[in-house]
């Protein structure tokens, strides 16, 4: 159970405070309600590039990182398709420094041209390192546009291509800041060895005078129900074949979300999971296999992926994956099997409560979804799932006409006989 108190400033900033006196540290987590889904289709990758620029100096503080390190703090940030999240961990005695830093960059950035120049280059290198310079690195650059045709989830957070990043201008940076970076579009969580009253007065001191701007109402093109199966085959210089099957699934608010998440656990969590047992260990058709739910806020993807063993064709591999999916539709899962994955959800929750930062991030994310306390009732939502739910959700999701299959084929070294 993660306890917290909440207040809202007049400018719309939502603030949550969680006291945990078992640590001498404090965490300051600032979540902005903007992600890659909010980007202009002609400027993809922008939310993430912008995240880098948030470290390039704010209106009154030229060097964010150095100021923080000087008081013993560390920080980082991530951008997803849904959100941009910034976090600091520092000795609790220096909490005010973190609030000063975060409030100043919420007020305004320095909009430094050199920073834009350099960070563009850094992000391009990140693009190369993660997506281009390793086998299968570009899978998501191909799978997303195959599975999504309308929704902006069709591009990855890094962007569709390097050109979009290269073309970003300072005018666009300023516009993006004005649109998304203001108090009522953010959630601030302060956690750790802190006292509510002190946090409240410090937050008031540093954040209350930041002017708000109207929140741009989000209206994203929604994905239409998929009607026919989609397939794509690519050949690349990789050592072994690989297969990815993506299905559309429920959004983060749906009760079916929890059922589908448990289905991914039944299929591939732990060494006792079905796919691993059956396809890797028993039938030895795969060297590795995995199933997971993306955890997106809007309509989700459920992905089944694997690399077949040497000598096993992608056709055979694909059939074997489908056979396991069909089984979930035809047979009720064993009660004990369902208990098993629920038990894992429960213990994982306890382990994640060991980390103040994890708690802070989760409170912020659930608050954004509508209610921070939902974090505390997650386990119950999983617990309510029945074996019949599992069969129903599996039946509604694992349909060929709801699937997008990407076959990633190794270019054979042997020359083709012509």
């Amino acid at each position: 159970m993660v306890n917290y108190n909440k207040f809202v400033l007049a400018n719309g900033l939502r603030v949550l405070v969680h006291e945990d006196h078992t640590t001498p540290m404090a965490c300051v987590n600032v979540l902005y309600d903007v992600g890659a889904r909010d980007e202009d289709p002609k400027r993809t990758g922008f939310a993430h590039l912008f995240e880098h620029l948030m470290f390039g100096g704010s209106v009154n503080i030229p060097n964010y990182d150095e100021v923080l390190q000087r008081v013993g703090g560390e920080n980082n940030a991530f951008t997803s398709n849904d959100i941009t999240n910034y976090y600091i961990t520092l000795p609790a005695v220096n909490l005010e420094t973190a609030l000063w830093l975060e409030s100043d960059r919420m007020l305004s950035l320095a909009f430094n041209e050199q920073s834009l120049e350099v960070q563009r280059q850094v992000v391009i290198e990140e693009f190369k390192q993660r997506y281009l310079n390793q086998p299968y690195g570009d899978v998501w650059l191909k799978l997303r546009p195959l599975a999504y045709q309308q929704h902006p989830y069709r591009w990855a957070t890094i962007g569709k291509n390097i050109e979009h990043i290269e073309q970003a201008t300072m005018a666009e940076v300023k516009d993006f800041f004005d649109t998304f970076y203001h108090p009522s579009n953010a959630v601030l969580v302060v956690a750790g060895d802190v006292k509510f009253d002190e946090v409240q007065s410090l937050v008031d001191k540093w954040f209350a005078d930041i002017p708000d701007r109207p929140v741009k109402k989000r209206s994203l093109p929604q994905e239409l129900p998929q009607q026919v199966a989609r397939r794509e085959t690519v050949e690349a210089d990789v050592p072994v074949d690989s297969i990815y099957i993506a299905f559309h699934g429920p959004d983060r608010h749906s009760t079916d979300y929890y059922t589908l998440d448990l289905i991914s656990d039944i299929l591939s969590r732990g060494n006792s999971s079905r796919l691993y047992r059956t396809l890797v260990k028993e039938q030895q058709l795969f060297a590795e296999v995995n199933a997971y739910l993306m955890g997106s806020t809007d309509t989700n993807l459920f992905v089944v992926e694997g690399k077949p063993s040497e000598g096993i064709s992608l056709e055979v591999a694909e059939q074997a994956l489908w056979k396991e999916l069909e089984r979930l539709k035809m047979e009720l899962a064993n009660e004990k099997e369902l208990d098993k994955v629920k038990n894992k959800v429960e213990s994982t929750m306890f382990f994640s409560e060991l980390s103040v930062l994890d708690k802070a991030m989760n409170l912020a994310y659930f608050e954004l979804l509508g209610d921070a306390n939902a974090y505390n009732t997650e386990v119950d939502k999983y617990a309510r799932t029945t074996t019949e739910d599992v069969r129903q959700v599996a039946s509604s999701v694992f349909r060929t006409d709801n699937s997008s299959t990407l076959l990633y084929k190794a270019k054979r070294q042997e020359a083709h006989v012509e």
Binding site: V118, E125, Q284
Partner: protein, 429 residues
């Protein structure tokens, strides 16, 4: 009116206060270190074994295979049954392998301790290494190796270790042949020799009640026997101080980035200069604000990240710098690294930078104590290096005493470009 240009008052960072473990020795001689906190109903039991090696080959793959395969079947339970039970109780059983140690770590809720401890007991006394499982291990690892060998960073790392350490456990590369050569007889022999109470240390942390201690003693005390006499266990190593410092370059025509690794032998954790070396490493390449990051990422934009670390092993230490950079700036990056090393050796760092690194490291130390598990980790690190918790007091004293001349002196010893093994995998122009 709020003056936003002025920083709030900052405060000195307090030292850490570490939990001293309770210590037990079980009937079979197994030392147990216990760290208790009632915060969460969780238990972590970490069994650490010193790796033993055949003195001829020092084949580390055999140890890797051992740690992976111990949980794949005993005479009472199949691999599937073990996995099923661990998962059913929401537990995590994590084998971990490093060059020097093999660890088996069990994470579980308190309420399932009686159910999961017997599984671990079986694994430690009665692993069978079925052929089927061994073949599966070979098959999946062969495929993983094929994939890894297409990653420039992996290849650079392998070349780097080989060049720096030579033919021993630290330098050995995993190959197809080494995988094929794995066999059940060697595994069973290594298991018998290595997985014994007198080659083991147990670190227990979490909500360690008297019930938990009783359960642990029941299974891992008198019931768990030493089978081979103490003294037959081989931990020795063939390690040469000589290594080749000429640039090793492997060209990859399709590369869009080059993987770069530079490094040299350095200090073990128990060396009195190790904390000072860590300080210099941090300033040079060990944190986001380091010299390497500021120059090569934040000023030039050559890379997504560059870092260095002072790694310690049981028999040696190494200083290593690694990065992946655009192929067109490979040579420029090497020049910039060389320049930064030169500056470290020839110019005094500013007081301000030294103070910053001190505070950063003190904060990081404080922040590294997240839960009772991290207290156990802190102790484990020094205990396995033959030291005790007073190390951290010494470490803090060294940090406070660092000054510019001391930094320069350490750099002059450990940051000479000409002493570095240099590996590039990718493209150079």
């Amino acid at each position: 009116m709020l003056n936003r240009a002025e920083a709030p008052q900052s405060h000195d960072i307090q030292g850490i206060s570490l939990v001293s473990p309770d210590h037990l020795v079980l009937d079979n001689g197994l030392p147990v270190y216990i760290f208790t906190s009632q915060d969460q109903p969780l238990v972590k039991a970490e069994f650490v074994f010193k790796n033993t090696f055949d003195s001829q080959t020092e084949n580390p793959l055999l140890n890797t295979a051992l740690s992976a395969l111990m949980k794949e079947g005993t005479s009472r339970m199949s691999s599937a049954e073990i996995a099923e039970k661990v998962d059913y109780y929401g537990a995590f059983l994590v084998p971990d392998f490093s060059f020097d140690y093999t660890c088996y770590t069990l994470y579980t809720l308190n309420k399932y301790v009686p159910q999961v401890l017997p599984l671990l007991y079986d694994i430690l006394v009665d692993a069978q290494f079925p052929d089927l499982e061994l073949n599966n291990f070979k098959r999946t690892n062969r495929q993983n190796l094929q994939i890894s060998l297409q990653k420039n960073d992996f290849v650079a790392k392998q070349m780097f270790y080989q060049t720096l350490f030579g033919n021993n456990r630290y330098g050995a590369a995993v190959t197809d042949k080494a995988l094929s050569d794995l066999n059940r007889t060697d595994l069973a022999e290594l298991y018998a020799q290595q997985v014994q109470p007198h080659n083991c240390t147990l670190f227990l942390s979490g909500n360690i009640t008297s019930d938990v201690i009783r359960e642990v003693s029941d299974y891992f005390g008198s019931k768990w026997k030493n089978s081979l006499p103490i003294g037959t266990v081989g931990h020795g190593i063939k390690l040469s101080a000589e290594y080749d410092t000429t640039l090793r370059y492997q060209e990859r025509n399709d590369a869009v980035q080059s993987a770069i690794r530079l490094g040299r032998h350095s200090l073990k954790r128990c060396d009195k200069n190790y904390p000072a070396l860590q300080f210099v490493n941090t300033l040079f390449g060990g944190y986001f604000g380091s010299r390497l990051m500021r120059n090569i990422r934040e000023d030039k934009g050559y890379t997504y990240g560059i870092g260095s670390s002072a790694v310690t092993f049981a028999h040696t230490g190494m200083l290593v710098i690694s990065t992946q950079v655009g192929t067109e700036v490979t040579t420029l990056t090497l020049q910039e690294i060389e320049k930064e090393m030169y500056l470290m050796q020839n110019e005094l760092a500013s007081e301000s930078e030294i103070k910053l690194v001190k505070n950063y490291m003190l904060g990081a130390m404080l922040g590294s104590l997240e839960s009772i598990f991290s207290h156990a980790d802190k102790f484990k690190a020094v205990h396995l290096s033959g030291m005790d918790l007073s190390y951290y007091t010494y470490y803090t004293q060294v940090l406070h005493a660092m000054d510019a001349p001391k930094v320069r002196a350490i750099a002059q010893e450990y940051l000479r470009y000409e002493d570095m093994v240099k590996v590039v995998v990718g493209k150079m122009h």
